[in-house]
């Protein structure tokens, strides 16, 4: 299978202060992130707030500028793409946003919202666009009467369907979904997750799925990358990561998730302390301040990503291939 997306050593530095009389300060939001997504595959980035997962997604669509590294979409490096190249990138990579209330322009009708990418990227006539819009409405489980209404007349789940229809209308190969279900109620969340899975099969889509919710990630992904403070600490096949987590952070994260079954209550591996401020990350392995197993080397050296077995890569000094 072909790689739809390859990300290599991606870095992003944000300037957070530095006016006329201030010292310039930077935050390393993303530090050296590498991963790839194959055709028809879902790769999830999972992590807690401030881990850089959303920034990574926005770097790939170039909503923020790349500081360093490569982003290869369909065999072409777009990390520094400009103008028409950038427009082309944004036709083949579409986004689904977290908040279906905020990501749809309240002044536009549903059919105009969904047709917008067509207006931007194609020279189709109005009739041709409308035809595609009606088809798309059907595909995402809405019907034709909805086309002439405004987004605020819909519930959260329906709005997210509109957002999905808009993302799919240009027939992109890669969809970046940034927490697409976290603003929705549980019963609606499963509708949308099922829809995303169905669409993936139908159109052979690849997803970069960004989420903090491990149960959702396990359900939707083929492969997973766990992020902590701007780096991927562990990545690999979903089954391997969820059944046999190797990095201490992955272990703690999985153990922290409350499971909706009271018979499975268990002693948790509760991490001490807070997530460090990304402005001022710890030296060496960024996780060492909370890691129960940390040793001296963890404080000094940044661990390198190592292939541990054929399914998993881990960045930890204490995990070695056997």
């Amino acid at each position: 299978m072909n790689n739809i997306l390859v990300v290599e050593n991606l870095k992003k530095k944000f300037q957070i202060s530095g006016g006329l009389f201030e010292k310039k300060e930077f935050v390393n939001a993303v530090m050296d992130v590498s991963f790839h997504i194959k055709e028809g595959e879902t790769f999830s980035l999972v992590g807690e707030s401030g881990c850089g997962k959303s920034t990574t997604g926005r770097l790939i669509t170039r909503l923020v500028d790349v500081t360093e590294g490569k982003i290869v979409v369909n065999g072409k490096d777009v990390a520094q793409a400009k103008n028409s190249e950038l427009t082309h990138l944004r036709e083949s990579v579409q986004m689904i946003f977290q908040d279906p209330y905020a990501s749809l322009n309240p002044r536009m009708k549903v059919k105009d919202l969904i047709a917008e990418p067509l207006v931007i990227h194609t020279k189709l006539s109005k009739e041709e666009r409308d035809k595609l819009v009606y088809e798309m409405l059907e595909i995402v489980g809405l019907n034709a009467e909805h086309a002439n209404r405004y987004a605020h007349e819909f519930s959260g789940g329906q709005r997210q369907r509109i957002g999905i229809a808009r993302a799919l209308i240009t027939k992109p190969k890669l969809i970046i979904a940034d927490e697409p279900v976290s603003a929705l109620d549980v019963s609606i969340q499963s509708q949308i997750l099922n829809l995303l899975k169905k669409l993936q099969k139908e159109f052979n889509l690849s997803y970069l799925f960004i989420s903090h919710d491990l149960s959702v990630v396990e359900y939707i992904s083929h492969r997973v990358g766990v992020m902590y403070l701007g780096t991927i600490v562990e990545q690999g096949d979903k089954e391997a990561i969820f059944k046999n987590p190797l990095h201490p952070y992955t272990k703690a994260l999985l153990s922290s998730v409350p499971i909706a079954d009271p018979t499975m209550r268990k002693e948790k591996m509760v991490l001490k302390g807070d997530i460090p401020n990304p402005k001022n990350p710890p030296s060496g392995c960024t996780f060492h301040t909370r890691c129960p197993l940390a040793t001296d080397i963890c404080k000094q050296q940044i661990p390198k990503m190592k292939q541990i077995n054929d399914k998993q890569q881990v960045a930890c000094h204490l995990v070695n291939e056997n």
């Binding site: 019963s187 499963s190 099922n194 491990l214 499971i259 807070d274 909370r290």
Partner: protein, 331 residues
């Protein structure tokens, strides 16, 4: 039989918008016993948060109003109390923690001052005593540098720390009921685990009754002894937590449980409940869940089902259980 701390009977609460009364709670019944954690579960629009605000009678400047029903708290009737009586109760005997602690902490006052204020108000301690008590409380909620923290402002703390401070404040007068409204929803998973652990510990030490309001079935399974499931302003099911998850009675409850992905389950497709929650101004007659229910029968669209005692561990309001050997629950 353990002592009942809170008993809510036929509670109806409404809002007024554009001179139109909109009924949100339509007859809510449940109780909370001493030392028990009761989960109040429901999706947005189910009325779970409004239930807690009704207990506290904290409608702020909204048009919320209790129309009917009783709220009995330790033999006192809350719906008949004046505002000043309620004020003495809040924070002392009933405390509340919210989803976003920043909204309930005053941003311009130091943590210590805010903590001491409620302690001095409710426990009649002098300044020295209340400071000591405040520091003790902060240590109890797992804050190592309690003394330093007393002189810091809320915005200097992380979300998890703020929630700890809120819990310290809520527990400082040793209340007999703690209402926690989505206390961990805004927090990261690893921090959520810390806070849940902390709440479990506090419950064991103080025998506080906890009413935990949440949409997260994982948190419910983890924390609660008993669960009350709400849908469209009504209680549809009430059961022991093990009973509820192993053997959910109401089609809504079972649909809800089945639609949550569980780690290690590896389902190909999730079950989901079709349609969405009806809006309060456009409620179906009969059972409110009937339009979304796969097992709906003719009677479901005509009349609202009564609350039925299924067995000693569970009650359910659904016509499916009417004809079976159960007695109608009268209250």
């Amino acid at each position: 039989m353990s002592q009942t701390v809170l008993e809510i009977n036929q509670l109806e609460t409404s809002f007024t918008r554009d001179k139109q009364k909109i009924k949100i709670l339509r007859g809510v019944n449940f109780s909370v016993n001493k030392g028990e954690v009761v989960g109040l579960v429901g999706e947005s629009g189910s009325g779970k948060s409004l239930t807690s605000l009704s207990i506290m009678q904290l409608f702020h400047d909204t048009t919320g109003k209790i129309d009917k029903g009783t709220i009995k708290f330790n033999d006192q009737e809350l719906t008949k109390m004046t505002e000043s009586q309620m004020r003495k109760l809040r924070g002392k005997q009933i405390s509340m923690i919210f989803q976003e602690p920043m909204t309930s902490l005053n941003p311009v006052l130091k943590i210590g001052r805010q903590l001491m204020e409620s302690i001095r108000l409710h426990l009649n301690y002098d300044k020295e005593q209340s400071r000591k008590h405040a520091i003790e409380m902060l240590k109890k909620v797992g804050i190592g540098r309690a003394e330093e923290l007393m002189d810091e402002y809320p915005h200097q703390l992380s979300g998890g720390m703020r929630q700890r401070v809120m819990i310290a404040m809520a527990m400082s007068c040793n209340p007999s009921l703690l209402i926690a409204d989505e206390p961990t929803t805004a927090l990261d998973v690893t921090i959520q685990a810390q806070i849940l652990e902390l709440m479990k510990g506090l419950k064991q030490d103080h025998e506080t009754a906890i009413l935990l309001i949440t949409h997260d079935l994982g948190v419910v399974a983890e924390m609660c002894d008993r669960v009350v499931v709400m849908y469209a302003g009504e209680v549809v099911e009430e059961a022991d937590v093990f009973e509820l998850f192993a053997n959910p009675k109401h089609p809504y409850t079972s649909g809800l449980i089945r639609s949550v992905p569980k780690i290690g389950e590896n389902k190909e497709e999730l079950d989901s409940i079709k349609g969405q929650v009806p809006s309060p101004s456009n409620m179906p007659t009969g059972c409110k869940f009937a339009p979304r229910c796969e097992k709906a029968m003719a009677i479901c669209n005509e009349a609202a089902p009564p609350m039925l005692n299924i067995n000693q561990n569970s009650k359910c309001s659904c016509w499916l259980y009417e004809k079976k050997d159960v007695t109608v629950h009268n209250e």
